[in-house]
Symmetry: C2
Subunit: 170 residues, 2 copies
Amino acid sequence: MTTNPGSAAGPQGAPRPAKHGGVAFLLAQLGAHATELFAQRIAALDLTPPQAGLLRMLAATPGRSQRELADDLGMPPSRFVPFADGLEQRGLIERRRNAEDRRLYALHLTDQGFALLGELAGVAVAHEQQVCGALSEQERGQLLGLLRRVAEEQGLTPGVHTGFRSLRGK
Amino acid sequence: MTTNPGSAAGPQGAPRPAKHGGVAFLLAQLGAHATELFAQRIAALDLTPPQAGLLRMLAATPGRSQRELADDLGMPPSRFVPFADGLEQRGLIERRRNAEDRRLYALHLTDQGFALLGELAGVAVAHEQQVCGALSEQERGQLLGLLRRVAEEQGLTPGVHTGFRSLRGK
DNA sequence: TATTGTTATACTCTATAACTATA
DNA sequence: TATAGTTATAGAGTATAACAATA
């Protein structure tokens, strides 16, 4: 179809400069940016975003099964295995057998895991500062409130997100 | 979980429950979420987020070289080639030779490309509504203002983001 | 010699689907 | 029979680097 339809903003008329983006676009853009900055920071701890995510999740609710955790992280169980292996070999997490149902593992942080999580918290603070540098303390609170409302309404689980598509730091 | 072995709360004291996230974390979480919803919507147009991104970029500033565009999209030139091929074969964009420097192509939208961009605009509106459903009109404006300030201070180019890591819609 | 676009290739990542052990 | 974890494997996606044409 060459003749076409549609919108007039074509070859001739001034095409809307694809306005530079509404809230949704800015969220996507800033989200990717924040994720990238965070990935760079935690690379110093030899961690990737999904690894940091698992450590946080295990601190929040220890003893969960691999399948549950894999689901929360948005990865298939088969991928979770080598993913957890890496952290276990580094002594950051450990797999304990569940006595009641011996098919399941119960994953826990080790002392080393908790220690690293502590460092991670420090990094997160610096990261937050860097990202929010443009805003006053008050505005930061305002933004936080709005984002929380949106996140809740969208049905997102606090503290976890399945958006870490790649396992590599970047 | 039953026995709940060991301390649920870390080696000793209660570890901060990895608080559910500051501004930076929420941006990452919501950004990934918004990107996913958008990808699902434009799949109906047989487009992926980076493809939609290129169409927008070509509407905003036509005639740019492949290398420039590839850089903006965060992909190596070698990956841009088959990426552009797909859109060209669908008649959405066209490669014109640059008379001044014949090494370069000048990429442009075709009429079909403009038409599809029009449809895309409609989708974007619906997407914005869905993501901002929790907020009043006023709050939406407030959020938009805050996000723009952050984006600007972070040095992000309006309208483009390199965060589309994968070529597939998802 | 440097740069744009292209192709070739090797490598990583990923999902799917078998396989085991428990239930 | 169904489920958690694991392993194997084939396919897709990716970057690196060589190449051709132009500057």
